[in-house]
Symmetry: C2
Subunit: 501 residues, 2 copies
């Protein structure tokens, strides 16, 4: 077969219908906190500990402790992913994201009553403050209905090389668990949206952990149903609840990673139907990105059109070119698998052309370093890692380039575990297994030692207050794109074991 004729796009309604058919089962766990019940007077507060990070709904029975309550009870319920949020002063919040994401509710209840909070929250701890009560109140039957589309019983037993990696894996798995809901969410505290960048990493990790394939399919179909931009790219995110709404922000690197996510899915399933149905969406992206290359075959990142990392001032064209080539390599393989020979040949030619162009224009052979933006010569780990993932440089030259960037004081460093994941992948691509596992230990080990049951969206060991949103209180402390150690360790664990540090 050498034709894409049978790969014709379907309607938006069809894709949405497929997404609904793949709505995952939500697993519920009834978590009993410590303490199991509370007696509090007006003005008093207490903290419930759920034991680990959970996502779901708090419920309790409220009544009088001694004398019957002759007035309603006003409670403030604060949901904290980590301990320090317990004492944050939310009134001082001044971040760029909406304050409504701060996980706090004030409820007025007529006791005695059983109450379940309607909104879902993400928490290890729940702080309960009695804002107003005419008498002491008793909270009993306190439960947290913990919800996830991750089936914990599906998690394969894995022999970890050592306790640190086992601990990193455990936290990474918990992170993914919290983000697996009706879609792969970016973070259960905040945004709660399906982003392509997060989806791709969550799906990868999911193949090695909870193995929920319907959830991956659902997310892939949702983007197929979304409104493409003038380049044929899907939006960087979609909303799926209460109704499907196509996002309004388009990112070139995220569009490319959608193609990668489809290729990954293909690598991990024999699901020819999904591949056939989503192939047109991927091809549209490949066609679109190629149309954006310049006369040299290079891409230039436009302002606001590329993500790469939360990193102020980062120049992104070189990294974006790397994402393109990385994607193209996967695409070439996919087309070959499907026996779409013409498509595969095109990809091969484009890949060679792109790599040659990148090497010619984005590599400073003298310094043995990739430069970020041809005209600004910015030096970053981001550009280096993505050029290597794009196959622009291989072998010893590549190892030297990446090692030098990682060791450099002046190279711009990743701010997010999302980017750190791709750095680790670049090391693994170069068979630098020891360095990869060392880097992973460094990045995620720091987060591990900082505490928390899940990995956050952002971590800077030198700045505990860092936030891309100008206020640390709004940071998501359980964030999808930080979950990949579970993938990296479980997939490459054997290599690590045979090459212990």
């Amino acid at each position: 077969m050498d034709s894409t004729l049978e790969f014709s796009p379907h309607t938006r309604e069809y894709y949405l219908q497929k997404a609904e058919q793949n709505l995952p089962t939500l697993h519920h766990e009834s978590v009993i906190p410590s303490p199991q019940q509370l007696t509090l007077r007006g003005g008093e507060e207490a903290v419930l500990d759920l034991g680990t990070h959970h996502v779901g709904h708090l419920s309790f029975h409220l009544s009088h402790a001694d004398a019957y309550l002759d007035a309603p009870v006003r409670l403030c319920l604060r949901f904290c992913e980590v301990e320090r949020e317990l004492t944050d002063d939310y009134r001082s919040y001044h971040g760029t994201l909406c304050a409504s994401w701060l996980q706090e509710e004030i409820v007025t209840l007529d006791a005695p009553c059983s109450y379940t909070l309607a909104r879902r929250y993400a928490a290890r701890y729940v702080r309960i403050t009695v804002l107003a009560a005419s008498q002491a109140v008793l909270l009993r039957d306190i439960r947290f209905d913990s919800i996830s589309s991750a089936d914990s019983s599906a998690l394969p037993v894995h022999a970890f090389p050592d306790e640190e990696l086992a601990a990193i894996d455990r936290v990474a798995v918990r992170t993914l668990h919290g983000c697996m809901q009706r879609v792969f969410e970016d973070g259960p505290k905040r945004d709660r949206r399906l982003w392509i960048g997060d989806l791709r990493l969550e799906a990868l990790t999911n193949y090695y952990t909870f193995q929920n394939l319907p959830l991956v399919r659902r997310c892939l179909y949702l983007f197929a149903a979304a409104e493409p931009d003038e380049n044929g790219f899907p939006p960087a995110y979609v909303y799926e609840s209460p109704d499907f709404v196509s996002g309004s922000w388009y990112l070139w690197d995220y569009a490319l990673l959608y193609v990668c996510a489809l290729c990954d899915y293909c690598d991990h399933t024999d699901d020819a139907e999904t591949l056939r149905e989503l192939f047109p969406s991927a091809k549209r992206i490949i066609d679109g990105i190629q149309a954006l290359t310049d006369e040299n075959g290079l891409l230039r990142a436009r302002s606001g059109c590329t993500f790469i990392d939360w990193c102020p001032g980062l120049k992104k064209s070189t990294a974006l070119m790397g994402v393109y080539l990385y994607t193209l390599e996967k695409w070439e393989r996919l087309c070959a698998q499907l026996h779409l020979d013409e498509e595969a040949k095109c990809a091969t030619r484009a890949l060679k052309k792109g790599r040659d162009a990148a090497l010619a224009h984005l590599y400073d052979a003298e310094r043995g370093a990739f430069i970020n933006e041809r005209d600004e010569r910015q030096y970053s780990i981001h550009a280096t890692a993505w050029m290597i993932l794009g196959g622009v440089l291989n072998g010893e030259k590549a190892k030297k380039a990446l090692s030098r960037a990682l060791a450099s004081d002046t190279a711009i460093k990743p701010n997010t575990p999302y980017m750190s994941h791709y750095v680790t992948q670049a090391l693994l691509r170069l068979d630098m297994h020891a360095e990869a596992i060392d880097y992973l230990r460094h990045v995620w080990g720091q987060m591990l030692r900082a505490g928390g049951d899940t990995f956050p969206e952002i971590f800077r060991a030198d700045d505990a207050e860092f936030s891309p949103y100008r206020d640390r209180m709004i940071n998501s402390m359980c964030h999808a794109w930080s979950c990949t150690p579970a993938y990296l360790i479980r997939k490459y664990g054997k290599d690590v074991l045979t090459n212990p540090l």
Copy 2:
């Protein structure tokens, strides 16, 4: 028939069952406020006007106005019975009652959604403040589900003598309407409890307005089911929702008014069954109060055991004695109607003995005035009015005593419309119709001119900040015991008409 044998008490469960059988129908009215929809940005606020005072649940549909909302929306909803509450600073509240009665909710909603506030509130105005929203929000389909067990279509058309009385009646009827729920509540903003003192006045007014007899029966049965104290008195209040709970405060005058309420019910229905079933509860109160009279046949109010009025420093024994005699007269008539001759004779004897004792010990013949507490000689309108309602003094002497007290600068004056009702009744008992209507116009006319769609629990023309709870913000602005002008005007309207001022 001359035996109380057939009037045997039933079990608590039986009385509760009868109370449930008489659960009234709740009438719903869907109120569309002005404006009908709102577009607001973060930090902005708007006021909804419901047209008049309503009790019920607010609902609306929340969505984005322009761009899709990428974050939840946090709203503050304040329910105001009167306009001035819109600008009150609730953070400064320092009253003695629980702050949870301040009618304000903070809700966090994931738009788009339809939302109905679970708690019932009492309001003419609703102030909506957008505490946090990432984009402009649109509130539409705003409705207030107004609830009352009062059936407006049952309200008799009445020809009022003039516009002022018509206006007072209108506000009084609206007040009763708001308080008629599953029971006769004291106030729909605050307490929301069934108190005997309020019940008696609401039931009286109800006979001349909405004529909801099941509601009266329900309330009478609920007190029969309550835990009596060592005197055989019912508690001053009960809770009925979510479960029946007997109150823990016992007031002698309220216990007596339960007997009055039963006698009133008897005057307005032919319901022999209810009377037979509740007679033992009333007789227990009469027996109990008589056991509390001293060697002179007088009652002495103990601290915290008598209400009479919200009036700091008021001595209450004389007024309490008046309530007893007032009740005894009704009881005597009831027993006679039931042909319980022995009971009736006992009542007649007790009434004569009590009136004689009161005249001998509580009346200063020289000054032509009743004194409050034999040993303290406090002068109050309260004592005077209740002595007259108790029939201790009649004719010209009584008229002079009451007129003098009302005209006196030194006599302690009523603080509540509850007490003002009994002053008006005392004037009517003396056939002082012109003075009664004048007094009514004075008391309720002042409140009318102060604004509001309903009459408040407390009103002092000289002190707009007065509150028995030390903070005016907690005052109930729609309070049951203020509704009686609708009874007084409708019942005595003809006399007023034939004796215009």
